[in-house]
């Protein structure tokens, strides 16, 4: 029984948070395209996998072999405060640095002038516990251990996977100096545990509001600075924490990475 109560409260939270758009009577056929572009960078530099060495706030050199994350539950707010929530079934994206095509989250929204963008970095708890038939596309838990974004032994999605090589990391059994950050945790199914689901809200008014219109493709261009994973409210050192997966410490990284995103410009 306890489980149901717990699940029900999780569901309630979602119902409450989704309620906002009930006054939105947009007709599905009237929707126009809008994309959100996730442009991964490292401080002032573009991100290149494997080849380039970067330095984090602790002064540790590193390069990046993998950087990928889930973006979901996109919503947009108009100047008058009304919000449009993208149909949830079409609102899951896996942004992978290794595949340039995945840098765009493409959704459909009513024409309008939008001043604020929100999304979840990760996969919401409701979807994380849905029947397997509802887990298609990027949510299909069929990936392997290497580039998969799913924990089989502790049912749940990995929200952010960030791996690389650093001279500050200890030698692992494969002889490499690898660091691995696999961050997830949707709050637990039958017993509560860490919740690293992060809602990100970005104001677009300073760098260009989005004006999606029929026959055009508005694009909100975001920068995603992975240096923030190391340095924001918590300082992270590769030497001290070369591997962070499902653990209490992971919440520090999750609190850091909420600051990765900033709005660069909008192409309307």
């Amino acid at each position: 029984m306890k489980k149901y109560v717990f699940m029900a409260s999780v569901a309630m939270l979602f119902i409450v948070s989704c309620k906002k758009d009930v006054n939105d009577t947009s007709d599905e056929s009237e929707l126009v395209p809008l994309s959100v572009e996730f442009d991964n960078i490292v401080g002032g530099q573009n991100l290149f996998l494997n080849t380039v060495t970067y330095t984090n706030g602790a002064g540790e050199d590193f390069n990046v072999s993998m950087f990928q994350y889930f973006i979901s539950n996109i919503s947009l707010r108009r100047a008058d405060g009304t919000e449009y929530v993208v149909n949830q079934d079409s609102s899951y994206f896996l942004i992978r640095e290794s595949d340039a095509a995945t840098r765009f989250a493409r959704v459909k929204v009513p024409e309008g002038d939008y001043r604020q963008l929100s999304f979840i970095l990760g996969v919401d708890s409701l979807r994380s516990t849905m029947d397997i038939t509802k887990r298609t596309g990027v949510l299909d838990p069929s990936g392997g251990m290497e580039d998969g974004m799913y924990w089989g032994w502790n049912s749940g999605y990995i929200f952010v996977k960030f791996e690389g090589i650093s001279p500050s990391a200890p030698v692992d059994p494969s002889g490499q100096r690898k660091f691995r950050y696999h961050i997830g945790g949707f709050g637990g199914y039958s017993a509560p545990t860490i919740n690293n689901i992060k809602k990100i809200t970005i104001d677009l008014s300073a760098s260009g509001i989005a004006r999606p219109r029929k026959g055009r493709n508005a694009n909100i261009h975001l920068m995603v600075d992975l240096l923030k994973i190391f340095n924001n409210s918590n300082n992270l050192s590769i030497a001290t924490n070369p591997t962070v997966m499902f653990s209490d410490f992971s919440t520090n990284i999750a609190n850091n990475y909420t600051a990765m995103f900033y709005h660069d410009h909008t192409e309307n």
Partner: protein, 338 residues
Amino acid sequence: MSKRFWLFSVGFIILVSCSKDIVDQFEGFRKPSHFPEPSYALNNNPITKEGFELGRKLFYEPRLSRNNTISCGSCHIQSSAFTQHGHDVSHGIDDRLGKRNSPPIMNLAWSPSFMWDGGVFDLDLQPIAPITAHEEMDESVANVLQKLKAHPDYPKLFKKAFGSEEITTARMMKALSQFMILCVSANAKYDRVKQGKEIFTADEQAGYTVFQQKCSNCHAEPLLTDFSFRNNGIAIGTNNDEGRYLVTLNPADKYKFKVPSLRNLSYTAPYMHDGRFYTLDAVIDHYRSRVQNTPNLDPSLQPGQGIAISDDEKTKLIAFLKTLDDKDFITNRLLSEQ
């Protein structure tokens, strides 16, 4: 809950009445009369003969592993009540050893969580863990799907089970669940006694009384587990497996493991999450005199003292435990590799 079951029964009646001639003796899922309602969402996965048969074939399919050598059935062997008899911890691909003992595939329709630590909350998600585990099958589900698509038989079998040749993660998992859900063990002497068809011997009856006084607060009837997570006082293992804590990160869950069922113990040795005890004798001696005061020891067990059980009670208790052996379950042809 009861509505769900009611819906299921209606579905089942329709299923039976629509396909009387095809279904033959395939009975689908039947809740034993003395069992509670199952927790598996049967209405999300209606069990059919074709789905079950596909699931069975997948369960015994070595293509689910990287080098096509290990099947689910390699570690979950029917004659050992679907455990890996004789192995303390599981023995997988390239002779790699896991860290835990293979539990039985048995009465899983009633299990609200899976694995010794309850890390998996839906049976449909369970196979992903062994398929991807480095020391088990070391494969990706995506690769398995490729192998099945390229196979001469599987597309047809998926069509029979699900209406089209499409092979998806969800379909594969649902089929495996259909097989596992039908691995029901409910025909031990104990069950026949419960159903009024047989009676215990005097020793068994005395052992049953001991059991009810000393064991059933955790190993609750009729499934012989209450599915809770507890520390039963076995010493912390050499690999310091922290059990349920790994899933909840709650310090109060350290060293707690899921209470296992006590059905079919004659076929499932060795015992405990790491297979440390080879005999029931050793298990009962643990409870009698070796309970360790490790963090989060269950309050019903007294450290050092444990549970008072005399030698005579022990003999009778073991006699009772033997009435939980279900020969039909380990020999049922329907559940064997065909």
